[in-house]
């Protein structure tokens, strides 16, 4: 009998602490979804909580679909999604664009190709162009790196480039970070990722002659750009509205810009 009482006590103790601390818990807003936006959301949440001591903000990842689902089910107050076009089931949600994000095409530092046209990108990702020679590089076969089906970055990329039927040889990576790692390690790889995550271990190529830079995106010359949505069930109100308003304020947008994203407007 001894054996069984101990864990029971633990569980009861657990519940007790849970409820006792529930009383003094402050109001918490939960936001969930896009992994691409998660880091920026964390930063914004920190700043917001500095200004509003009575509100807690919890940020969860999970992906854009999780963002949509949890906003629909009420598991989160705010869903975060980074898709060019929202799926039909998100129709009932109220969507606010809070930022934009450029999608950069990246290659290994050793690669001498510096520019690709949209058609070339389409050809490479569809498996029609198989060798770097064809687009002005060395005589090496291309390792195509893409994202998983459903990824906001991938669907945005494919929606803008158009007519991609992804080659079966493509390596699939499930995050911006790993796409970057793969391209860093493989001299013949090509990938795409969120503009804010480009670093000096990889080389970014221009698309149609335009480099992926904040200015070019704001001017509308760089074409691989997708919006980032905050989704709420019905129009945002109360604390949630307060938070979204903060993100849209000049202070919030400044944070977004300084972290490498593009402001909403």
């Amino acid at each position: 009998m001894k054996i069984k009482i101990i864990p029971l006590l633990f569980i009861i103790l657990g519940f007790f602490t849970a409820y006792s601390s529930c009383g003094k818990e402050k109001y918490t807003i939960t936001a969930a979804g896009s992994t691409a936006f998660q880091p920026f959301a964390e930063k914004l949440a920190d700043q917001y909580m500095q200004l509003n001591q009575d509100t807690g903000v919890t940020i969860q990842g999970g992906g854009s679909a999780v963002g949509i689902q949890s906003a629909l089910s009420g598991a989160a107050d705010i869903g975060m999604a980074d898709l060019v076009t929202l799926p039909p089931e998100a129709g009932s949600l109220s969507a606010t664009v809070v930022a934009r994000d450029g999608i950069a095409i990246i290659v290994n530092l050793k690669n001498k190709v510096g520019n690709l046209t949209l058609e070339q990108i389409q050809g490479i990702y569809s498996g029609v162009i198989k060798n770097w020679k064809t687009v002005g590089g060395n005589d090496h076969s291309i390792t195509v790196v893409s994202r998983e089906a459903g990824s906001g970055t991938r669907s945005s990329f494919e929606a803008i480039v158009k007519n991609i039927s992804l080659t079966k040889e493509a390596i699939i990576q499930d995050s911006n970070g790993t796409v970057r790692e793969t391209v860093i390690n493989d001299a013949n790889a090509v990938g795409y990722l969120s503009h804010g995550l480009v670093n000096d271990k990889i080389k970014q190529v221009s698309v149609n002659g335009v480099p992926c830079m904040t200015d070019e995106i704001i001017k509308g010359r760089y074409i691989l750009v997708r919006p980032i949505f905050l989704l709420t069930k019905g129009a945002p109100k109360g604390k949630v509205k307060n938070l979204i308003d903060y993100i849209l304020s000049s202070q919030g947008q400044e944070t977004i810009k300084s972290s490498g994203l593009i402001p909403a407007k």
């Binding site: 992906g63 089931e89 089906a149 459903g150 493509a170 390690n185």
Partner: protein
């Protein structure tokens, strides 16, 4: 009684949940189209998981080829030829390795193993071979530590009996000790097998996840688990059902493997 029932109910709940979400989809698409088609393009409504089935089987087979001989040899050596005091440090080390998160193994695979394979053997590096080796290493501690336990549980009188009949130490091991410890060893292998076929994160990191039928161990593949985990975060509607259906297939494969393993135990038991 109540405890046993509630534990079992919990387990049944999960299975029913997966089946309920996945099975209707399989019938809607058609079993042959779902299982045997090689096209997986959820955006275009194409849901064929044959490449993933092949991927899972290859990678698991590879992991078994790497992990089981090494694990068994290690277990036999450590429990039969090593003094007790040395065992006292080695066994905890092995169990420690069982606790290292799979993502760490996966990360090492990406940083160390994949570049080696790409450099010396060719291909993209992220491949069946990389995944097999990493998974094989991951299941080593499980296979080893359970095998050691069951070898240790063989009564010493068995060994003494064999020695007394003039058997060498090795004959004693493979004719007396291993058969006596068989049930435990197989349990260990099944656990290892389960871990290999069910592993997700490490495989996603090192297998490359390309949706195609592999031609060589250096090709990139996607496993069933990777298929689920990669797209789960985004999938909705049909796509999500397709992933649950992938889960059903995975479950059936695991059941088949277990069934084969169990019949193997029983048949060998009969021969005796």
């Amino acid at each position: 009684m109540a405890i046993a029932l509630s534990a079992i109910t919990m387990l049944v709940l999960i299975v029913l949940f997966i089946i309920k979400e996945g099975l209707p989809f399989i019938f809607k698409i058609g079993i042959t189209d779902f299982l045997l088609s090689t096209d997986w393009e959820p955006a275009a409504g194409k849901y064929g998981i044959f490449p993933m089935i092949a991927g899972s089987l290859w990678v698991t087979l590879g992991a078994i080829l790497v992990g089981v001989p090494l694990g068994l040899a290690g277990a036999v050596f450590l429990s039969e030829f090593i003094p007790q005091w040395a065992m006292k440090t080695i066994k905890p080390t092995i169990e420690l390795l069982a606790g290292i998160p799979s993502v760490v193994y996966g990360f090492i695979g990406v940083m160390v193993l994949a570049p080696l394979i790409r450099e010396y053997l060719g291909g993209p590096g992220l491949s069946i071979m990389a995944a097999s080796i990493i998974l094989g290493i991951m299941i080593l501690p499980t296979v080893m530590s359970i095998s050691i336990d069951s070898i240790k549980a063989v009564p010493n009188s068995y060994r003494e009996g064999a020695f007394a009949l003039g058997a060498t130490h090795w004959q004693t091991i493979h004719m007396v000790v291993i058969p006596a410890a068989r049930s435990g060893i197989i349990a260990g292998i099944i656990l290892g097998l389960g871990r290999a076929i069910g592993e997700t994160m490490a495989v996603i990191m090192v297998a490359g996840n390309a949706v195609k039928l592999p031609n060589s161990p250096l090709d990139s593949v996607r496993t069933l688990t990777a298929n689920i985990a990669l797209e789960m975060g985004y999938a909705t509607g049909m796509h999500r059902q397709a992933l649950f259906a992938t889960g059903v297939v995975l479950l059936i494969i695991i059941m088949l493997l277990n069934y084969i393993a169990m019949t193997a135990i029983r048949d060998r038991g009969k021969k005796k």
